[in-house]
C-alpha cells in the first residue's frame, strides 16, 4: 500500500498527538521520577520517529517536479469552502527537514537542564514541531492561518513558563508583535476569499488583482512576515525574546520560526501579488540591506551573548529577504534564481548555525548562569572540546567557505552584483562585520587566560552536549562542502516560481 498520501499528515500529527499524550500523562511533578524519565524518552523517540518520516519524505521527494507533491485534500469547513489541503515542493520540503532535524536535538539538549515540568516542556516542543510542519505544508489559506497562529501558543508558553527573569515583558512583546502582524494576514485572506470564493492558495495565485489591491495585500502580508523574519525596524522583539527564552526556545525560534517569514514571502506574497511585490521591492531591498549593515554594527556592541547572536540572526536573515526580492531588480540572464536559491540556502543554514550558537551559549549558561560576555574569558583552557565547537560555529556564523554559512551568502552576493554594484557592496560588508562581531566575542569568551574562579571550575561537554553539537557540526560542514543535495531539491520549484511571478497580473 502506498502510504505517501498520508505522509504529511503523519508528519504533522505524530508530534502533536504525542505532545498531547505527554501532557495527559504528565511527569507527576517530580523531575527525578521514573515517570519524568519515561516522558523524556518518549519525547525523544517521538521526535526521532518524526525525523525518520521526514527522511522518508526526502527519499521519495522528486527533485525534478516543480509542482506540489504528497498532496492531501479533504473538505474541511464545507460552508467556507475551506480544505484540509497539504502538499510540499522544493521550497517547503527543506524547511520541513530542518524542523524535524532540529527538534530531536532540542530534546536531547534539554534532557537534564529543565528542572520544572519537563513533560510539559517537551510537550510544548512537540506541539510546536507539528504546527510548524503544518505551516510549511498547508496549501489552504485558512489552514495556513490556523497553524500559523496556533504556533504562537506553545512558543508563548515556552518563554512565559521556562523563561528568564523578564519573561513577562518579553512574551508580551513577542506575542503582540507577531499577533498584530498576522491578524493583517487574516484580513488579506478574507479579502481574497471574497474575490475567489475559496481559501485555496492556488486560487489566490490565479486571482486577477488590481495594482492597488495588490499593494494593500502586500502590506498586509508584509506586516505578518516582516515581524517574523524579523526585518528592520520591526525586529526589537527578537533580542528580548531570545534573552528570556530557555535554550530550546531560542533554538527553535532562531532555527525555524524566523524562517516562517521568508517562507511566507515565497509562498504567499510573491505568487499572489507579484506586481505588488515588484512595486515594493526597492523598499524590501533597502530594508534587507539596513538589516545587514545596521544590525551588524549593533551586534558588535552587545554585551550579552544571546543578544549578540539574536542580532546576528537578524543580519543573516537580511540575506534571505535580499535574495528573495532581488528577483525584481534582475531583468534577464543569470541572477534571479541564484538570489532566491541563496535565500533558501541561507535560511536552512542559518537554522543550523544559529541553533548551534544558541546551544553553545546554553552550555555555558547551564554552568555559570550568565550570558554576559564580561563574565567569561579563557574558556578554552577548561573546556577545550567545547571551544573547538564554538570556534567552528563562529566561523560558520562569519560565513567561512566550507561551512554552510558561506553558501547562501555567496549566492546572494553574486546575485546582488547583477542588480547593482552597491547592493553587492553593502551585502558583502557582512564579511567584515560578521567576522568582527562573532570573533570579537570568541576572543573575549573563549581565548585568553582563565578570567575567574568560575571559569576555572568549568567542566567540558558531557556526552549529550557533545552529541548535539557534533551532529550540528557535521551538518554545517556537510552542507558547506557539498550543498548540491539541498540545492537540487529547490531548483525546479524556484525556477517555476520565478517564471510564475514573471507574469504580471495586471
Amino acid at each position: 500500500m502506498d502510504l505517501s498520501p498520508y505522509l504529511l499528515s503523519a508528519l504533522i500529527w505524530l508530534p502533536i498527538v504525542g505532545g498531547g499524550l505527554l501532557l495527559a500523562l504528565g511527569d507527576g511533578g517530580d523531575v527525578h521520577s521514573a515517570r519524568a524519565g519515561m516522558m523524556r524518552v518518549t519525547a525523544f523517540w517521538l521526535t526521532m520517529l518524526t525525523f525518520a518520516l521526514s527522511v522518508v519524505l526526502y527519499m521519495a521527494f522528486d527533485n525534478a517536479a516543480a509542482s506540489m507533491q504528497f498532496v492531501e485534500r479533504i473538505s474541511w469547513v464545507a460552508a467556507l469552502d475551506a480544505y484540509y489541503y497539504l502538499g510540499v515542493d522544493g521550497i517547503s520540503a527543506p524547511l520541513i527537514l530542518l524542523t524535524t532535524f532540529i527538534t530531536p536535538l532540542i530534546v536531547i539538549s534539554a534532557w537534564d537542564t529543565i528542572k520544572v515540568r519537563p513533560a510539559q516542556y517537551f510537550a510544548a516542543f512537540l506541539f510546536l514541531e507539528g504546527l510548524m510542519i503544518g505551516v510549511f505544508c498547508a496549501l489552504d489559506g485558512l489552514l495556513f492561518y490556523a497553524f500559523w497562529e496556533a504556533m504562537l501558543v506553545p512558543m508563548f508558553l515556552i518563554i512565559g513558563i521556562w523563561g528568564g527573569e523578564h519573561r513577562v515583558y518579553a512574551t508580551l512583546k513577542f506575542f503582540l508583535y507577531t499577533f498584530l502582524g498576522s491578524v493583517m494576514m487574516l484580513v488579506a485572506f478574507i479579502y481574497l476569499y471574497g474575490e475567489t470564493g475559496s481559501f485555496d492558495l492556488f486560487g489566490f495565485m490565479n486571482a486577477p488583482l488590481t495594482l492597488t489591491t495588490q499593494k494593500m495585500i502586500f502590506i498586509a502580508f508584509l506586516l505578518a512576515f516582516a515581524v517574523k523574519v524579523p526585518m528592520w525596524p520591526v525586529h526589537t522583539w527578537l533580542p528580548d525574546a531570545h534573552v528570556e527564552a530557555p535554550t530550546g526556545g531560542s533554538v527553535i525560534l532562531a532555527a525555524i520560526m524566523l524562517k516562517m517569514g521568508g517562507y511566507g514571502f515565497l509562498r504567499l506574497s510573491l505568487p499572489i501579488v507579484p506586481d505588488g511585490s515588484d512595486y515594493f521591492s526597492g523598499m524590501m531591498i533597502a530594508l534587507s540591506l539596513i538589516a545587514i549593515v545596521y544590525i551588524g554594527f549593533v551586534a558588535l556592541m552587545q554585551t550579552d551573548m544571546k543578544k549578540l547572536i539574536a542580532y546576528a540572526s537578524i543580519a543573516h536573515m537580511g540575506f534571505a529577504t535580499l535574495g528573495i526580492f532581488l528577483v525584481w531588480r534582475i531583468s534577464a540572464g543569470m541572477g534571479a534564481g541564484l538570489g532566491m536559491t541563496g535565500a533558501m540556502v541561507q535560511m536552512v543554514s542559518h537554522g543550523l548555525i544559529s541553533g548551534a550558537m544558541f546551544l553553545c551559549v546554553g552550555v555555558l549558561y547551564d554552568r555559570m548562569h550568565s550570558r554576559n560576555i564580561a563574565d567569561y574569558g579563557g574558556v578554552a583552557n577548561t573546556m577545550p572540546i567545547f571551544a573547538a565547537f564554538m570556534v567552528l560555529f563562529s566561523m560558520a556564523n562569519a560565513g567561512l567557505p566550507g561551512t554552510s554559512g558561506f553558501v547562501g551568502e555567496f549566492m546572494v552576493i553574486l546575485a546582488s552584483f547583477k542588480a547593482s554594484f552597491w547592493y553587492a557592496f553593502l551585502a558583502a560588508s557582512t564579511l567584515i562585520l560578521g567576522a568582527a562581531y562573532t570573533l570579537w566575542m570568541v576572543k573575549r569568551v573563549i581565548y585568553g587566560e582563565v578570567a575567574n574562579d568560575n571559569v576555572a571550575s568549568l567542566e567540558d561537554l558531557n556526552i549529550r552536549e557533545f552529541i548535539v553539537l557534533g551532529v550540528l557540526a557535521v551538518a554545517v560542514l556537510l552542507l558547506g562542502l557539498w550543498p548540491a543535495p539541498l540545492v537540487d531539491m529547490m531548483n525546479a520549484s524556484i525556477e517555476q516560481l520565478i517564471q510564475q511571478i514573471g507574469q504580471s497580473k495586471l
Binding site: P233, M301, G402, S416, K418, A428
Partner: protein, 655 residues
C-alpha cells in the same frame, strides 16, 4: 594523474583530521610521524607532477572532481587545474611545508599543544594546495579563506597571551577587508561572464573588457578595471600590501615555524600567485596594472624602512617580507608576472630559511626575541650562523645567490617596462625598487651583525646554556640553504626567458618586457659577472657596508642618528601611525557607530518611542476610555440615546 592530485591534497587533510580529532590517542610521536609522512608524500608527488610537466613534456590538466552545486545555470565545481604555474607553487608549498613540519618536531618539543599544532599546519598545507590547484573562483575563494582561518588559529595558537589573540583577530579582520573586495570581484566576473571556471572566464576576457559597470551612477567604468582592482584588493589583504599590511607584523605572535611557512613563504604569496593566475584578465586593464605597481612600490620601499628600526628579530624579518612582497607586486604591475613568480619562489626558500634560523636563535636564547639582547652567536651556533648567512645574502641579492637572479632581473624588468612611457608611474616604481635594495641590505645585515657578531649582550645564565639546535632544526635549515644559494643559477633562464609558464601566464606583446630582456640575456654566468656594473650591486654593497659600519664598527652612531632625527625615528617606530589610525580610527569608529545605532536607533527610537511608546499611548487611551465605562445603567442608556439620535439624523439628512 588524477589519483596523484587527489593524494597530494587529501593526504595532509587526512593527517590533519586524524591528528586534530584523535591527537590524544595517537600521541606526540604519532602526530608528528603521521603529518610528516603525509606532507612528505604530498611533496614527493608534487615533485613528480612537476617533473611530468616540465621534464617529460606533459600537458596541463583541467579536471573537475565533483559538482558543489548547480543552480540558475551556474555550475559550481570543485576541481584542479594543474599546469606549470600550479606545479611550481605545489613544489614550493609542499617542500617548505615539509621542512617546517620537520623543524616543528624540535621547535615545539615542549609545547602542550603539540598535536594541535601539527594538525593545524597540515590543515594549512591542504588549504594552500586547494588554493593553488583550483580551476575555478569558488575553490580559489575557499582556499583563500581557509588559509586565512588556519592563519587565525595559528597566530592565536598560544591563546592565553593577550597579544596573540589580539593579533589573530586583527589578522582575520584585515584579511576580511581584502576578501570583501575579492568576493565583489568574483561576483562581477560571474555576473558578466556567467561562469566561475577559469578557462571559460579567461576565454571571455575580451567581452568583459568591452563592458561597463556604473559604480557611480552616470559615469560608466570599464568592467575589467573594476573587477581587477577588486580582485587586487583581495591580494592586498592576503599579501599584506599597504594599506592592508598592518596584520602581518603582528602575526609574528604565532610560533616561529608558522611565521616561516604561512607568513613568509606561502600564504602571503597567495595574492601574488592569484594576480599571476589572473594575468589574462589584468592584461586587459592598464589602469588596474597601474594601481598594482604603485601599491607594490609603496609597500616595497616604505615597509623596508620600518625594518631598520625594529628590534624584535621576527618583526624585522616580517617587515622584510612585506617589502619583498612589494617587489613581487611591482613586477606584477609591470606585466613581468614570471619575474614575480620567480622572486616568489626564491623568496620562499630564503625567507623560510631566515625565519627558521631566527627560530633556532630564539629557542637557543629561551624565547628571547630582542636583538639588543643577542650578539656573538656565531661561535655557539655554527650551522645556524652559516645558513642564516646564506639566507641573508640571498635576501640582499648577493651576486650568484638565488635572490640575486630574481631581484636583479625584477628590477631590470621595471626599468625596461612599458611604464617607461608613463612617467608618473615609472618614477614611483623604479626609484622605489632601486633604493629599496639599499634598505634591504641595511636592515638585513643590521640584523645579522647584531645577532651573530659583536659583543654578547645576553645574560650570563643564558650564555651558559647556549648551544646549537638539534638536528630536526638544523637539517631543515641546511635543506633550505641549498636552494637559497643555488637555485637561481639553474632556473633563471627557464623561468624568465624560456617560456616556462607557457599558456598559464598571458602577457600582451606590448607589455612583454621579459621577452625584450631575453634577447640580451646570455646565461647565468654572464649575468653574475656583469653585476658589478649595475647600480643595484653598488647599492647592495653600500647597504651592507653601512650596516657593518653602524652596528659593528661605530655602534654609537645609530643612537646619535636616532636623537638627531627623532621625528623620523618616531614615524618609523610607530609604523607611520597606521596602527593608530586603524585601532583608534576604524575600530573605535565602528564601535561608536554600533553604540549609536543600538542605543539611539534600537533602544530609544524603535523600542522607546515606537514600540513601548505605542503601548504607553494605548495604555493612556485605555485609561481615558475606561472612564466611559462607569457601570451605571443610566450612563449607557443615555449614550445609546445620543448615539441613536445621531445615527438616525445622519441617515435622514445625508442619505
Amino acid at each position: 594523474m588524477q589519483a596523484y592530485y587527489l593524494t597530494i591534497v587529501l593526504a595532509p587533510l587526512a593527517a590533519a583530521i586524524i591528528t586534530g580529532l584523535f591527537g590524544k590517542w595517537i600521541g606526540r610521536a604519532g602526530a608528528h610521524w603521521l603529518t610528516n609522512l603525509a606532507v612528505g608524500l604530498s611533496c614527493v608527488l608534487s615533485i613528480a607532477v612537476f617533473k611530468h610537466l616540465f621534464f617529460d613534456g606533459g600537458t596541463a590538466e583541467n579536471i573537475n572532481i565533483y559538482t558543489w552545486a548547480v543552480t540558475d545555470g551556474l555550475r559550481m565545481e570543485v576541481g584542479f587545474l594543474v599546469d606549470r604555474l600550479t606545479a611550481l607553487m605545489m613544489v614550493v608549498v609542499t617542500f617548505v611545508s615539509l621542512m617546517v613540519h620537520i623543524y616543528t618536531i624540535g621547535y615545539m618539543h615542549d609545547d602542550s599543544g603539540y598535536q594541535r599544532f601539527f594538525s593545524y599546519i597540515s590543515l594549512f598545507t591542504f588549504s594552500m594546495l586547494m588554493l593553488v590547484m583550483a580551476n575555478n573562483f569558488l575553490q580559489l575563494f575557499f582556499g583563500w579563506e581557509a588559509v586565512g582561518l588556519v592563519s587565525y588559529l595559528l597566530i592565536g595558537f598560544w591563546f592565553k597571551r593577550e597579544s596573540a589573540i589580539f593579533a589573530n583577530l586583527k589578522a582575520f579582520l584585515v584579511n576580511r577587508v581584502g576578501d570583501f573586495g575579492f568576493i565583489l570581484g568574483i561576483a562581477g566576473i560571474v555576473m558578466i561572464s556567467g561562469s566561475l571556471d577559469y578557462a571559460t572566464v579567461f576565454a571571455s576576457a575580451e567581452s568583459i573588457a568591452a563592458q561597463n559597470i556604473e559604480v557611480i551612477p552616470g559615469s560608466p567604468w570599464n568592467a575589467m578595471t573594476v573587477i581587477c582592482i577588486l580582485l587586487f584588493i583581495g591580494a592586498m589583504g592576503k599579501s599584506a600590501q599597504a594599506p592592508l599590511h598592518v596584520w602581518l607584523p603582528d602575526s609574528m605572535e604565532g610560533p616561529t615555524p608558522i611565521s616561516a611557512l604561512i607568513h613568509a613563504a606561502t600564504m602571503v604569496t597567495a595574492g601574488i600567485f592569484m594576480v599571476a593566475r589572473m594575468s589574462p584578465l589584468f592584461e586587459f586593464s592598464t589602469t588596474a596594472l597601474a594601481v598594482v605597481i604603485v601599491i607594490g612600490a609603496i609597500t616595497a620601499f616604505f615597509m623596508g624602512l620600518i625594518g631598520i628600526v625594529q628590534n624584535d628579530i621576527k618583526r624585522i624579518i616580517a617587515y622584510s617580507t612585506l617589502s619583498q612582497l612589494g617587489y613581487m607586486t611591482v613586477a606584477l604591475g609591470a606585466s613581468a608576472y614570471s619575474a614575480a613568480m620567480f622572486h616568489l619562489m626564491t623568496h620562499a626558500f630564503f625567507k623560510a630559511l631566515l625565519f627558521l634560523a631566527a627560530g633556532s636563535v630564539i629557542i637557543a636564547l629561551h624565547h628571547e626575541q630582542d636583538i639588543r639582547k643577542m650578539g656573538g652567536l656565531r661561535k655557539y651556533m655554527p650551522i645556524t650562523y652559516w645558513t642564516a648567512l646564506v639566507g641573508s645574502l640571498a635576501l640582499i641579492g648577493f651576486p650568484g645567490s638565488s635572490g640575486f637572479f630574481s631581484k636583479d632581473l625584477l628590477i631590470e624588468a621595471i626599468r625596461e617596462s612599458h611604464w617607461h612611457s608613463e612617467p608618473w608611474v615609472y618614477w614611483i616604481a623604479y626609484p622605489s625598487v632601486l633604493l629599496g635594495v639599499f634598505v634591504t641590505a641595511l636592515y638585513t645585515f643590521r640584523l645579522f651583525f647584531l645577532v651573530f657578531h659583536g659583543e654578547e649582550r645576553m645574560d650570563a645564565e643564558t650564555r651558559s646554556h647556549l648551544h646549537e639546535s638539534p638536528w630536526v632544526v638544523t637539517v631543515p635549515l641546511i635543506l633550505l640553504a641549498i636552494p637559497s644559494a643555488v637555485i637561481g643559477w639553474f632556473t633563471v633562464n627557464d623561468v624568465l626567458f624560456d617560456n616556462y609558464f607557457g599558456d598559464s601566464i598571458v602577457v600582451r606583446s606590448s607589455h612583454d618586457v621579459l621577452a625584450y630582456m631575453g634577447e640580451s640575456f646570455h646565461g647565468s654566468l654572464a649575468l653574475v659577472s656583469h653585476s658589478v656594473q649595475t647600480p643595484v650591486f653598488w647599492l647592495t654593497a653600500a647597504g651592507a657596508f653601512t650596516a657593518w659600519f653602524l652596528y659593528l664598527k661605530r655602534p654609537d652612531i645609530p643612537a646619535a642618528i636616532k636623537d638627531k632625527f627623532s621625528g623620523l625615528y618616531t614615524l618609523l617606530d610607530r609604523k607611520y601611525f597606521m596602527d593608530d589610525l586603524y585601532i583608534k580610527g576604524f575600530a573605535a569608529g565602528g564601535r561608536a557607530v554600533g553604540s549609536f545605532l543600538w542605543q539611539k536607533g534600537d533602544q530609544l527610537l524603535i523600542d522607546g518611542m515606537l514600540v513601548n511608546g505605542t503601548a504607553n499611548t494605548i495604555g493612556r487611551l485605555a485609561g481615558i476610555m475606561r472612564q466611559l465605562q462607569t457601570g451605571y445603567i443610566y450612563t449607557y442608556a443615555f449614550t445609546m440615546i445620543v448615539g441613536l439620535t445621531m445615527l438616525l439624523s445622519w441617515l435622514i439628512w445625508f442619505r
